[in-house]
Amino acid sequence: MENLKEFNVDGTVYKTELTKKFESRKNWERPNPKHLHSFIPGTIVEIFVKEGQEVKAGESLMILEAMKMKNQIEMPFDGVIKKIHVEEGVKVPNKMLMVEIE
């Protein structure tokens, strides 16, 4: 036994080793509705809006092509585009911040 750490389960502190998987788990963060993230890895083929532009809910912001499917990324609610973090032609991983809304 090496590398014993303190580990709390329901108020009791145990001496134990931890696993790599446990130690590298991500802390949960409350999702910010004003941040739009990619939901699948793919390529941004077209962007229809500019920073500072007012956009109505449901309008298409861009097309994210993934697995041979062109996905429309829609505006979730009325607002202004604060920042666009992607460009046409770039590849995006999953869960990447693409657009910030004001």
């Binding site: 036994m1 389960v9 108020g11 009791t12 145990y14 001496k15 949960w28």
Partner: protein, 514 residues
């Protein structure tokens, strides 16, 4: 006229096929640090026991210039042989022949030997070393995979199915091993993934090596797809042979019995376990202290290490051990450890292997990531597997048995046949600290010295409930035993469970929380 000419002709034909993909391709295979398919088969089987079939099979592809290509044996070797004198069916993909790619006839050879294994009720060993589908054969190749997967499912729980990954096994091909009972991987040689590094790079721009994406270590530590990890092919073959000594040839049989042997004297059970339930120890030493010759054959030893599973023998007979590991994550149950244990329990139940459960765990792992990963449905698998199992089921509670974990770990309520507890057992809804904080919340809050009051109440709860006697008073455990008595109690309870009959409602099949 003599037969000589025909015999010579046969020999010539055989010789040609036995060259596989030819000298150059074999040199390449060797340069990759790999044995050839035939060397693998003969190393696993008893000497001179291998008999090959379908060696003259040829593909019928007529597109993309395939009609001009002769692929010996169509890239796979099938046959029968023996291991420790007992018959097995085996196939080995030959990477030297068209990269071991799977075409229609290649798949037909595999399904032929699978059908044979199932009909003859003998184990099936599959050696995977293939670049994947033979694209020139189009949908015929996909059909081939489908036929293999279907047979894997039919044979599941009837005969043992072992998958040995000795090269690439990519794309759809991975689902045959995934459907089988045990997957063996070897460092630097095994590569398993659905989508390879090249596609990932093209689509995502992420660069990752085959080894990092789906190498032996990844599958034995992170994904849980592999059950046995070895440094070399020869070590892997030894693991295969050892595993086969512990399991029966089919689900209508019991595993072969060996001469009984006592545990080794260096494993002193009383000295292994600390009395303080917050202090760790290696549960595998307890298993070694109670099993024949202290021989414990661990399965998935690098994945979800907070639970330990594997085979040992008691009085010469195979038993499956499921044990919480206090040394890792305090032995909590979580998504991965539930998956790991549940599948093993079902294996033992399918193949008539009694299950011994050693319990020492503080409950389910708390945390958002666990909840969101679905610890509810994953955790439910353990409950399902134990409840469903009708083989002899015996539990020894060593120290902590708290909350949902107490129920899940083969409790009386899951219909354990025998429940034993050490005097150090704590059977309760939760640990004393947590319980006291809830039950005596007001008293603690209103006390002049809340910390002192908390300590007092924790002690009070400990005294009352952190023991095996409350559960024993209700008959939820059968008896409290001294640690030294553990092996004898287990031997006895397995013996008296020998003719166990436990019938369940008839159904097509249940709906486990897969």
């Amino acid at each position: 006229m003599s037969l000589k000419r025909n015999i010579l002709d046969l020999r010539k034909r055989k010789e040609k096929v036995l060259q596989g993909g030819g000298e150059k391709a074999i040199q390449k295979q060797v340069a990759m640090g790999k044995l050839t398919a035939r060397e693998r088969v003969t190393s696993i089987l008893d000497e001179d026991s291998f008999h090959e079939y379908d060696l003259f099979v040829e593909h019928e592809a007529r597109d993309f210039g395939m009609e001009k290509k002769q692929l010996h044996g169509d890239g796979v070797i099938i046959g029968t042989g023996t291991i420790y004198g007992e018959p097995v069916c085996i196939f080995a993909q030959d990477f030297t022949v068209a990269g071991g790619s799977l075409g229609l006839m290649h798949a037909r050879k595999i399904t032929k030997i699978m059908d044979h294994a199932l009909k003859m009720r003998v184990p099936l060993i599959g050696i995977n070393d293939s670049g994947g589908a033979r694209i020139q054969e189009g949908v015929n190749s996909l059909a081939g995979y489908g036929e293999i997967f279907f047979r894997n499912t039919l044979a599941s729980g009837v005969i043992p199915q072992l998958s040995v990954i000795l090269g690439p096994c990519a794309g759809g091909a991975v689902y045959s091993p995934a459907l089988t009972d045990f997957v063996f991987v070897v460092e630097n040689i095994s590569k398993m993934f659905i989508t390879g590094p090249e596609v990932i790079k093209t689509v995502l721009g992420e660069e990752i090596s085959m080894e990092e994406l789906g190498g032996a270590r990844v599958h034995s530590e992170i994904t849980g797809n592999a059950h046995f990890y070895a440094q070399s092919e020869y070590e892997c073959f030894e693991q295969i042979k050892k595993l086969l000594t512990f399991i029966p040839w089919h689900n209508g049989k019991k595993a072969k019995a060996f001469p009984p042997k006592p545990p080794k004297p260096e494993y002193k059970i009383e000295e292994i376990v600390p009395a303080d339930p917050t202090q760790p120890y290696d549960i595998r030493n307890v298993i070694k202290a109670i099993s024949d010759d202290s021989d414990f054959f661990e399965i998935m030893e690098n994945f979800a290490k907070n639970i330990v599973i594997g085979f040992g023998r008691m009085n010469g007979e195979t038993v499956g051990f499921v044990a919480n590991q206090p040394m890792v994550l305090a032995g909590v149950l979580d998504c991965d450890s539930s998956d790991k244990a549940a599948r093993f329990i079902r294996y033992c139940d399918s193949f008539n292997i009694p299950i011994v459960t050693l319990e020492d765990m503080p409950g389910y792992l708390p945390g958002v990531d666990q909840e969101h990963m679905g610890v509810i449905r994953h955790g439910a698998k353990i409950l399902y597997a134990y409840s469903e199992a009708t083989v002899p089921k015996i539990t020894v509670i060593i120290r902590k048995a708290y909350g949902g974990g107490y129920i899940a770990m083969n409790s009386r309520h899951m219909k354990a046949d025998f429940m034993f507890a050490w005097p150090t057992a704590e059977i309760a809804v939760m640990g004393p600290e947590g319980a006291a904080n809830i039950i005596f919340r007001k008293e603690i809050m209103n006390a002049e010295d809340p910390e002192a009051m908390r300590k007092e109440k924790v002690a009070e709860y400990k005294e009352k409930f952190a023991n095996p006697y409350v559960a024993a008073a209700k008959g939820y455990i059968d008896t409290v035993i001294e640690p030294e008595e553990t092996r004898n109690m287990l031997l006895h309870s397995i013996e008296v469970s020998n003719n166990k009959v436990d019938r369940r409602p008839e159904k097509k099949h249940g709906i486990p929380p897969f």
